[in-house]
Subunit: 245 residues, 2 copies
């Protein structure tokens, strides 16, 4: 059976996250419903590179599924998009070998975290960026960010509930980019722990407000204690940007 | 009684437009509800520079209201924002003289119309820009736009239902700006007829697709016939950007 890899985008505002759960609207459920229609009622299971939480967006999530249909790769996006709700779109599709797996073949991911700095809240950003009523010091944030690039135990930067044993991850890029009132954190790495990007974002925002000194970052890492880092930044600013294979 | 002038922004996606109407969620109604709470049940009537239709956004709508309360201008935005829904925000307020009127004192307005050009629809733009699956020719559009700058009878560019007698208006600026896949039309003028900006946008998009030649614009104007111009572009791309006094 051909395996299809799709790159998808979704606006997370009205989803209870990616993964199917009872009585909730999820991205996976919408994808599987659309595929079921195309397959005339047949159940088609979709596998993603990973889950995203409620309110989190994706510009480049990657999924795969197996299909008995002989639809050419180029036709898959329009076949699916005409059956998907407007807050999900398939951007690109290709036929891949059975050895490809959206989750296990991924070698890295990039996330972006958007912040807007404005005294008054803005209606257009409410679902799409984190609001900071105070201006953030981009230079301090970039300095702190540099300390997180590399291979470390990120226990301090993941949800205390995380059950994964090995909390060592590698961050290959962590940039703090400013365009006027808007700021974007670009974080790429080999893999991420639960809430890791949102805790990094929350901590860097506290650095930007002068509440945590950039020099403290190595100690926060070394302490391996979630309470040493800043708050978990809200979901609405987070975008799964790209998955690398 | 002090008169308060406020500059407000709203995301028009979930409103049936600006003006109060039965059984519909409107911007005016939400503003008047918030003011009524601040005034402990007293009705406060809000006057805007003009209405906007369902789905149309505002970055710089202007309103005024009269109040018996002695709240300083600087405190009005937060007093209102804490009682307004998240899709409306008061950006700025000032105390003005009784001779100021949000509608009658306005001497001009600027609207912007956003278009994104991408083969596949994008979930993040669905409420905030018009989708063009085809690339538009910006140079042709700018050439056509130039013919509309000046004082003309805009009968061809307003809804056939318009009941206003005098359809002469002055456009002072009409720019077609391209940033990658995104295009923005910036239109300023003394005043606008019903649907005028959306018909200009729809016509310029047909120019950009090569369906109407830029040289035809003077004839479309001179014909004074709505059927000569292009389609009315959808509401979601339109922003009331600024009101001039």
């Amino acid at each position: 059976m051909p395996r299809v890899k799709c790159t998808i985008a979704y606006d997370g505002a009205r989803f209870s996250g990616y993964q199917v759960q009872p009585n909730s609207r999820t991205v996976q459920e919408e994808l599987e419903k659309a595929l079921s229609v195309i397959h005339k009622g047949l159940d088609v299971k979709v596998t993603a590179s990973g889950r995203t939480d409620a309110g989190v967006h994706a510009k480049g999530q990657v999924i795969h599924f197996d299909t008995p249909l002989a639809i050419p790769a180029l036709r898959w996006p329009s076949a699916l998009n005409s059956r998907l709700p407007e807050d999900i779109a398939v951007k690109q599709a290709e036929i891949v070998s059975e050895s490809f797996h959206a989750r296990f073949s991924a070698v890295g991911k990039e996330y972006r975290y958007k912040i807007y700095q404005e005294a008054v809240r803005d209606p257009f950003h409410r679902f799409y960026a984190c609001h900071s009523p105070l201006e953030l010091d981009q230079a301090l944030m970039q300095k702190a960010a540099r300390s997180l690039i590399g291979t470390y135990d990120f226990t301090s930067f993941c949800s205390a509930k995380t059950e994964v044993e090995d909390k060592v991850r590698t961050i290959t890029k962590l940039e703090v980019i400013q365009h006027g009132k808007e700021m974007e954190l670009q974080v790429a790495g080999s893999g991420f722990l639960y809430n890791m990007v949102r805790i990094i974002a929350g901590t860097l925002m506290e650095v930007g407000r002068g509440r945590i000194a950039p020099d403290c970052m190595p100690d926060i890492l070394a302490g391996r204690d979630r309470s040493l880092a800043g708050k978990t930044a809200p979901a609405e600013g987070l975008y799964l940007w790209e998955v690398f294979y």
